[in-house]
């Protein structure tokens, strides 16, 4: 069985196990949707009062909101295995068993849990997307749709990498790191608005250091026809940084696994 087939098998098992408790699953799905959609309602309330933010209207911000939410939901659903890795695998020594299997350890952890409930988050992104499209009534070419999908893919890859790096940290801390939320959840929260509304240092941080903006700001602004100061070709290429980041995260993962010391139980 090759890696991809193995991964699909993992996801299948995870989905089936979640479906064994349908009421609990629906409750989680519903609550995620309610919690997240209410945040979007908050954005509407702000625009109802202020009309625009530094030249951006509600419909445009809704598109940023949608791409950030969808990218994050995908990454969140795929990366749950890394979330509880510290207490469940590292602290207990169960990570030994992962190492014994003749498969990539990163793949095994990714497949440990597929969070179907992140569909609730995804639904918020879908609502924001429908609102954005409904209000903007764009004459979108296939190229623009493709660019948006590419932007979401780059963003998802970046968020996934951040989650993975958080997992690597747990080789040393054996606990989850609440501080890592500043980049994952915080990054999503920041990318829900066009980055040029923020202070310059913060925008630069999100463009050059943790390049969330490369995937979720530059290309989306290009689709909306806003000038960001970056040339169009750069905005089109920018989401590739999300995948480059994944490469860095994988290297960091290998480094972390190399430093894993079993608790020997």
């Amino acid at each position: 069985m090759n890696g991809l087939a193995l991964y699909w098998r993992y996801i299948g098992i995870s989905v089936r196990s979640e479906m064994l408790y349908p009421a609990s699953f629906l409750l989680r799905l519903g609550s995620q949707f309610v919690v997240t959609i209410i945040e979007f309602a908050g954005v509407y309330v702000l625009f109802e009062r202020f009309k625009h933010v530094r030249g951006w209207g509600f419909a445009e911000v809704a598109l940023f909101y949608a791409t950030a939410s969808i990218a994050f939901a995908i990454a969140d659903g795929l990366s749950r295995g890394f979330d509880s890795m510290g207490p469940m695998l590292v602290k207990t020594g169960n990570f030994d068993r992962v190492l014994l299997r003749p498969r990539s350890s990163a793949l095994q952890i990714t497949g440990r849990e597929f969070a179907l409930s992140s569909v609730g988050r995804l639904a918020r992104g879908a609502v924001a997307l429908i609102v954005a499209i409904g209000l903007l009534k764009p004459d979108w070419s296939a190229a623009k749709m493709l660019l948006l999908s590419w932007s979401v893919a780059g963003g998802a890859s970046l968020f996934f990498s951040l989650k993975m790096m958080e997992g690597v940290m747990s080789f040393w801390t054996t606990e989850g790191l609440e501080v890592a939320n500043t980049l994952t959840y915080g990054g999503e929260a920041a990318a829900q608005y066009p980055l040029d509304i923020y202070a310059k240092w913060f925008r630069n941080f999100l463009l050059y250091f943790v390049p969330i903006g490369c995937s979720l700001y530059l290309p989306v602004a290009l689709v909306l026809g806003h000038d960001t100061g970056a040339p169009a070709w750069l905005a089109v290429l920018a989401p590739a940084t999300g995948f480059a980041f994944l490469g860095v995260a994988l290297l960091f993962w290998r480094f972390g696994v190399g430093h894993y010391t079993s608790t020997g139980s």
């Binding site: 609990s24 989680r28 609550s31 309330v45 702000l46 501080v179 915080g186």
Partner: protein, 273 residues
């Protein structure tokens, strides 16, 4: 009176000491809250650029956001974790054996939890946002002190009521938990709590027509009312209304909780063990 209250007071004290053990987790929480606060402040600063007269001015809104981050642990997001475990294991039945009022026992536990958690987190957020931030280039985004002695005194009264109100909410969540047996009950409530307590957007920025309703709904007392009193956005007669709204909801929720818990515990099923 004092002997009657003794069991509840000792629960309060023990839980408080227990919570204070988790200082590292609290520091991590503070860093996260400061960061999220900063993002929220930057967003609202951007909205305020070039805008006209608003119900709250920018310094008030910025201070309000910092207060929200400092008192985040005050919000009743989840039922009591230990009671959640007890519900799963069936140990919740023991609660019936204790010679104390179960509702007030749970209430005291919740109060200790909220207050200890807040005490741990509010101070550091204050140090970062009110004392260190003014020394940097971002001094405009600092947490400002209350406008006057009256606002400060009323804030202390109001935030005390917030702790009492939040504990009543937590006790209710515990009761729902006994009913449905999944600790996720809090999640549904969380969305409404966040929006209607003013945590997502200060309630004063909601449309004008919604304001009377917003002041009198139960979630306002969890954050918005004390914060608006602190910043001076709620003063005089409206401040009195805000406090009245808090007191009213505390009484209603405690009565509802006591009545409901009595019904739930009368029908509790236990499986041997």
């Amino acid at each position: 009176m004092s002997t009657l209250a003794l069991p509840y007071l000792s629960v309060l004290r023990v839980r408080f000491q227990l919570m204070l053990q988790y200082r590292t987790a609290a520091w991590a929480g503070v860093a996260t809250q400061f960061w999220f606060g900063a993002i929220r402040v930057m967003t609202l600063v951007a909205f305020y650029v070039g805008t006209g007269q608003q119900p709250m001015n920018l310094p008030q809104v910025v201070t309000y956001i910092w207060l929200g981050q400092a008192f985040l642990a005050m919000l009743p997001w989840a039922p009591d974790a230990e009671i959640a475990v007890a519900v799963e294991s069936g140990n919740v039945g023991y609660e019936r054996l204790r010679p104390v009022d179960t509702y007030f026992l749970w209430y005291a536990r919740a109060l200790a939890w909220r207050v200890a958690n807040t005490a741990l987190r509010a101070g550091p957020v204050f140090i970062l946002a009110a004392l260190i931030l003014p020394l940097t280039a971002m001094a405009d985004w600092r947490w400002r002190l209350p406008t006057g002695g009256a606002a400060a005194a009323l804030f202390v009264a109001s935030i005390t009521l917030t702790a009492l109100l939040s504990s009543a909410f937590t006790a209710l969540l515990n009761i729902v938990l006994v009913h449905v047996k999944t600790p996720r009950v809090g999640n549904f409530a969380m969305g409404f709590t966040n929006l209607f307590s003013g945590l997502v957007i200060p309630l004063a920025l909601f449309p004008h027509w919604a304001q009377p309703f917003l002041l009198w709904q139960p979630f306002a007392g969890l954050a918005d009312i004390p914060f608006r009193i602190y910043t001076g956005a709620l003063a005089g007669a409206t401040a009195a209304q805000g406090l009245a709204s808090q007191v009213l909801w505390i009484l209603l929720l405690v009565l509802l909780g006591r009545w409901w818990l009595a019904r739930v515990l009368a029908h509790i099923d236990m499986q041997g063990g």
